[in-house]
Amino acid sequence: MTEAKRNQEINQRLANLFESNVHLLEDGAGGVLNDARKPAIEAFRKQGIPDFKTENYKYTNLAKIFANENHRRVFAYEESNVNLHELFQCDVPELDTNLVMLTNGWYYSGNEQLTELPEGVVVTSLRKAAVEYPELVEKYYGKMADPEKDPLTALNTAFAQDGVFIYVPRSVVVEKPIQIIDLMRGGENTYATQRNLVIAEENSQVKVIFCDHTLDPQDYMVNNLTEAHVGENAVVDFYNLQNQHNKAVNLTGLYIRQERNSNVLTNTLSLHGGIVRNNLNVLIDGEHAEANLYGLALTDKSQHVDNFTFVEHAHPDCQSNQLFKNVLDDQSTGGFTGRIHVGRGAHGTLAYQRNNNVLLTGTAKMNTKPQLVIDNDDVKCSHGATVGRIDEEALFYLKSRGIAEREARLMLMYAFAHEVLQEVRVEKLGERIDELVNKRLRGEVSKCHSCVMDCES
């Protein structure tokens, strides 16, 4: 079958899937979600499923992934017969968070009422929010994630039914991080669509931790998209811990729009997963705002992690930093595409981007594409990318001081990863991630930790 024919078939199949289930999709969802569906599937039809010829997906061929996909779709909430809180224990025990759980992209009905939230803060299901706070959802839903520009965003918008809705009103500081655990589970291969909306009004502060897990060894696919609106002077952190098994496909999108003086930090830690693709889009839409994007991926076997970032500087005197690192073992592959766009009027911009990669074996593969598009002269922009192996001289230095080779290698790898890990602004989480990465590097977490299934063998 030719590639063109295969792609056509996928496009047709997904469009048909939409047509024949549109009543299920619309059932019980708010008007905003439903209004966006048809234009979105149209936008997807126009763009088609991206393959290696699509510039933005050059290093993750989605057509190949979607070609063999015949997963079960979840068009309605499925009640869980076990208590998810008992089934799954968070791996960061000391971490004190406002915890909500999702299952296959749906808000878990067993979520307890969050009692420690400051007044006015809302954490609930997006489906419910669309009904209860229609004016809020309407104002922000679909405003940043444009289906016309990205086929995955189009698919997500067309099929979105539920997810998390977080609202932090003006001048409220949420001290305890909000943790969202998404558990993929089911008796058969499952495809889930999750859609989140985060609104942080001016002067507010909030930290959001997304944890992605799989509970059993079926093949899973998740198309997860988050839109975040960050108001003036607001400080918002996003952490994403990706810890799924090696047969899972995780397609994550994060769209952030920042207003004046706001400060955003995102840290994407891909510890485990079969195929992971992260799309990070940040629009700096006000003066003196700052965006920090970090990412670390540790891959082995035949895993694939591809980070894509697009930072758009539209206003003067803003700053952005990007640091992404990959440690690649076995036959794993990695991708990085970073684009900084400095618009005509964005003078005084400082924008930095760095991508460093270590290949541990001769069969691992890394593709990187750091890009700068600059339309203004009063800027300081730089990007750098390196691909190499562990520095032999550093290794020799450590060995000459009596440290065994294996230990020395681990120390160097850990030090390499630590640059990203130190950027975690939640104390306990930082410590725990440090520990997790250390374990992961030692190969002690050869299967996804806390997973009862032994799906690796």
């Binding site: 510039e55 990669n357 290949l359 001769g362 069969t363 593969k365 700068l372 002269d377 990007h383 990318a385």
Partner: protein
Amino acid sequence: MEDQNKLLDKVTKSEYQYGFVTNIDSDTLGKGLNEDVIRWISAKKKEPQFMLDFRLKAYRKWLEMEMPDWAYLKIPEIDYQDIIYYSAPKKKKELQSLDEVDPELLSTFEKLGIPLEEQKLLAGVAVDAVMDSVSVKTTFKETLAEKGIIFSSFSEAVQEHPDLVQKYLGMSVPSTDNYFAALNAAVFSDGSFVYIPKGVRCPMELSTYFRINAANTGQFERTLIVADDDSYVSYLEGCTAPMRDENQLHAAVVEIIALDRAEVKYSTVQNWYPGDENGKGGIYNFVTKRGLCKGESSKIFWNQVETGSAITWKYPSCILLGDNSVAEFNSVAVTNNYQQADTGTKMVHIGKNTKSTIVSKGISAGKSDNSYRGLVRVAPKAENARNFSQCDSLLLGDTCGAHTFPYIEVSNNSSVVEHEATTSKIGEDQIFYCNQRGISTQDAVGMIVNGYAREVINKLPMEFAVEAQKLLQISLEGSVG
């Protein structure tokens, strides 16, 4: 600020210095492209069958291809049927001495400063002057012949050394490589052919001046350089073009093949008509240049200074096939007014212990867009491959753009690949420092721009370095602040 504007005005209004049209009768084919045109060109040049096959294969493939659109360029639609595919200055007779050369042609060369005349011999440059599409005059041929070096026009080479041409043609740029390479392969009219035999060090810089002359003639040059074992050659290519209103398409192909321990240095100064200050006219320069380090320890160096053309779209590349082979790419690209450039290089590491270096300096002014696009690929078996890339951009004024699109694909862990890029403008403190020492802002900008590009210009052969510096001055110096 006002000063700056004044200076900017001055550069944007400075006229293209090399704009003139030479009146020579051309033996011109009608507009349009089809198989008959290709057969006509091939017959006209009395080419052997393999050349016709080569052209037709390329043409048939070209028909199936679509013009790529991934470049960061805005290209007006090109009507390929509205181009004249063959135009040769009328051949009067075989030329033995300068007296027999059309005086008008000579004066054209003089205006361009091509060292074709007697006193220019002292410069030690052999020139294969290409006026439009057919080679008119070749000097130094006899000196070179003594050493067994073949330096001739492509059509001559096809007649005299068909075996060599057949062996190497299309080896580094296959006829169906890309859209423009295929078009070139189908219709190319002439070009240069260089063969350096085993163990020979070419005693002088070989040089070709390309010049587009007849109106509405797309120029499709093809250059093939073969350096046999242990040989060395330095090749210069420079161009200026007359002022035109209509856009002209230029889709050339340059192929370099370096065998065992051979070394080839290819330097370009490109100053074609860039269009006027409103972006009207100008040359479309869509060139495919590729070097193949075929033998072990072979070396290929690309040096280029790009100041002209309305649209430049080219990536002089190297395929490092032989073990221990070395490649370098050094480039200065200047864009002004409405010029657009998407240029860079590709380094494909296949052999063991291969090394490549990329230094790219982009300078954008006016309303221009200047992009660097580069690919570094390390194949699984390229043990100990090493690449270092540096691409800096300098922006003059806040209406221009500078973009960087590096692609790095590494499949081998014993290799080390590094990429660095910075974007900046000339600092006020730098200007202030110069002013303080009695240097005018104008001179200071010139100094800083020249200093910024020095690293690359220093790599050019002496004669070229002077010209390149002059070009930078014409394009920018004393005119932008």
